[in-house]
């Protein structure tokens, strides 16, 4: 994307004189800014959605007063955080205290460079993309330890130590799970992994249920691997139920106890950037990335018809029960379906954008993470280690072997 942007800039006669390095640097800056803006806006939106989701799951209303249905609540929160006093504790290690949050944020944001948003929307098409993402996101633990140590606070230090132990423990099963996928594709390039999931196949290769050729449906071992990866990644990004580094009932706020204002906002930003990154990785590796699921079912028309049916059913069963009938979703889906059947080209255009499917999958995974967060109780420290070393690690090792055996049986690889 950077190179193509640079080529596009140089294609103008007026700008061609600036030379390749300048154009390349300019495109680099633009792309980085785009990624950062995406991460920041994403955090603002996700905080609002998370508060709303948690409220609905607890029969509450959530933020309601700022904007329509509280939609500007997080904007107001962000403005407040930016205005707050910049406090550095007197006994803190000032240098580490200042750069700790930035290390975490940079490590979270930089990983998005390798994420393919669509078939063309990719900042850097590197052939070690998966390895790059996993290794860079591990730098987060460095920032957490820096922040926790520099705060000179027992809770911060406990949180940082727990975080380090947890991330290092869960890196191993996560890495092994990813190796299983890499063994199937034969490449570490994320774009290649997505392209390998195109087309239609049977469920688990033999069961005659037509499904998109995604790796969740590739074989039972990868199906299990998807859940193992989701669990391990949840632990890696310190989200509930694995949020012992910042468990507020034990450690006040863990490694971010002493932080406030902008620095604290950076922690929050990186937290949601990490959650989004995990959702992206799950989508790319197991759910076919930007591949449309409707290529399977005889085109987009059938897909939209199914969506309309679902919307009608949802209206009938949920909305009538609530005695608040709204024809908007049904009407919208009916109109779209009608257009899809009347104009096949429109249907193709509507179903093709990879960005839409990518973001839809990411949103689903993020909702799943929120669902986890507001359902599960937090694990104890020893339980956390038990789950990692005694449950997930053996299962992922068996999984890796199972994937290899499966591929030998189905003839995907020959020895």
């Amino acid at each position: 994307m950077i190179q193509s942007l640079a080529n596009w800039i140089l294609s103008f006669d007026i700008l061609a004189g600036m030379g390749n390095p300048v154009a390349w640097g300019l495109s680099l800056f633009v792309v980085s800014a785009l990624i950062f803006v995406f991460v920041a806006l994403n955090a603002i939106v996700l905080v609002y959605i998370e508060r709303k989701v948690s409220a609905f799951m607890q029969v509450r209303l959530g933020p309601m007063r700022v904007g329509k249905f509280g939609s500007l609540q997080t904007v107001a929160d962000a403005l407040k955080l930016l205005q707050k006093e910049d406090i550095i504790p007197q006994m803190a290690d000032k240098i580490l205290f200042v750069i700790g949050p930035w290390v975490i944020l940079v490590a979270s944001v930089v990983t998005f460079a390798a994420i393919p948003f669509s078939d063309t929307l990719l900042a850097a098409n590197m052939n070690i993309g998966l390895f790059y993402v996993v290794s860079i996101s591990s730098i987060v633990v460095l920032g957490i330890v820096m922040a926790g140590w520099a705060s000179n606070n027992k809770w911060s230090l406990y949180g940082a130590m727990r975080s380090a132990a947890q991330i290092i423990s869960y890196e191993i099963p996560v890495g092994i799970t990813l190796i299983a996928v890499v063994a199937v594709v034969g490449s570490l390039n994320l774009q290649t992994i997505v392209i390998a999931q195109g087309g239609t196949g049977n469920l688990f290769h033999w069961i005659p249920i037509p499904l998109p050729n995604w790796f969740v449906f590739h074989d039972p071992f990868l199906f299990l691997a998807a859940f193992i990866y989701l669990t391990g990644a949840t632990a890696e990004i310190n989200r509930t139920p694995f949020d012992i580094p910042e468990s507020e009932s034990e450690l006040v706020a863990g490694f971010m106890t002493e932080f406030s204002g902008l620095r604290w906002a950076l922690f929050f930003l990186s937290e949601y950037a990490n959650a989004t990154l995990v959702a992206f990785l799950v989508s790319i590796i197991f759910l076919g990335g930007w591949q449309s699921p409707f290529s399977t079912y005889g085109g987009a028309q059938v897909g939209f018809s199914i969506l309309t049916l679902l919307a009608i059913m949802w209206t009938v069963f949920v909305k009538i029960k609530a005695k608040r009938l709204s024809i908007f979703p049904v009407g919208l889906s009916l109109v779209i379906t009608l257009c899809a059947w009347l104009f096949p080209g429109f249907a193709l255009w509507l179903a093709s954008p990879g960005l839409f499917w990518m973001l839809l999958k990411v949103a689903s995974i993020i909702f799943l993470l929120m669902w986890f967060r507001w359902t599960f109780p937090r694990l104890r420290v020893d339980q956390l280690m038990y789950v990692s070393w005694k449950v997930i690690l053996p299962i992922s090792l068996i999984n890796l072997m199972g994937v290899a055996v499966w591929m030998w049986l189905t003839g995907e690889i020959q020895f």
Binding site: Q58, A322, W374
Partner: protein, 299 residues
């Protein structure tokens, strides 16, 4: 084997929990949240109690008075244990019709100021039963803060110390009218006090004249004894009473009429070299001159 049982049990219970939360997420909304300033819990207006406590158990959140029914009897002011009620009431003029209360009682006093300080009120309800017109009541209104009288030019600290938002003033008349009534009442009170003072002095004078007849020897004894100096007891600044002594302009003598005669010595400063008081007060100019003569003789 328990290892696998643990895993299976963990997964099944997690799925159970997720079902519960998703059930609440998609369920028709039965929120427990109340959007407070927009909607409030219903408050029973009166009588939340049962049985014989029925009339007593009202919700006591805010004390209010129906000022149009107040007759200014000050029964509530006297009943209040913490003195949070202050009433200013003035008698109307002879030709002034102050109307009647809703009970039909004729109002005789004009209530110009009925102040309830809710920052001192302890919600004891003791002021309500004494009211003859049932015009002071406890209401269930618990929202004291409103934007109506919110002062925007004060800092939060000032507002925190400022109780003025909790002081409720009721009045039948305007502020100017109130001030005018106050001034009138003050003037009337001063006039009354003056008349009372004049009456008192006249009475004392009568007593003194009666005593002078009997106490001639005492007066002569005082004048023939050691020289003493005293102030004239009859002196007063009131122009209605003619001053009989040159010391009448002395302000300290103003109050002397109200003080028992035995304590005159302490209140009146001795100007001479002797502190010995005279036995009897003398009213006539002659006796005073006598004393002065004696003093000059002594000096």
């Amino acid at each position: 084997m328990s290892y696998f049982n643990n895993i299976v049990q963990a997964i099944s219970t997690l799925i159970d929990g997720m079902k519960v939360t998703m059930g609440y997420f998609v369920r028709p909304r039965e929120y427990v949240t109340l959007q407070y300033p927009d909607e409030v819990w219903p408050v029973p207006s009166r009588n939340i109690g049962v049985g014989e406590l029925d009339s007593y158990n009202t919700i006591r959140s805010k004390l209010t008075v129906d000022i149009n029914d107040c007759i200014g009897c000050k029964a509530c002011e006297r009943a209040c244990p913490v003195d949070c009620i202050t009433i200013d009431a003035f008698r109307g003029g002879p030709d002034e019709d102050l109307g009647t209360t809703s009970n039909g009682t004729k109002i005789k006093l004009l209530v110009t100021d009925f102040t309830i300080d809710m920052s001192e009120c302890m919600y004891c309800d003791l002021c309500v039963p004494p009211c003859p017109e049932d015009c002071i009541v406890m209401t269930p209104d618990y929202q004291f803060i409103s934007n109506d009288n919110l002062k925007t030019d004060v800092t939060p600290e000032q507002r925190w110390r400022d109780r003025s938002l909790l002081i409720y003033q009721f009045s039948k008349v305007s502020e100017e009218e109130r001030q005018r009534r106050k001034a009138e009442a003050k003037a009337a009170a001063a006039e009354k006090a003056a008349i009372m003072a004049a009456k008192k002095i006249a009475a004392e004078k009568a007593v003194a004249e009666a005593a002078e007849v009997n106490a001639e020897p005492a007066a002569s004894a005082s004048s023939s004894g050691e020289a003493t100096e005293t102030t004239s007891l009859a002196s007063d600044s009131d122009p209605q009473v003619p001053s009989t002594a040159p010391e009448a302009s002395n302000p300290e003598t103003k109050v002397s009429y109200a003080i028992p005669l035995e304590t005159i010595e302490s209140s009146a400063p001795a100007e001479g070299d002797s502190d010995t008081p005279i036995a009897e007060p003398t009213e006539s100019q002659n006796s005073t001159e006598d004393i002065e003569e004696k003093e000059s003789e002594n000096g």
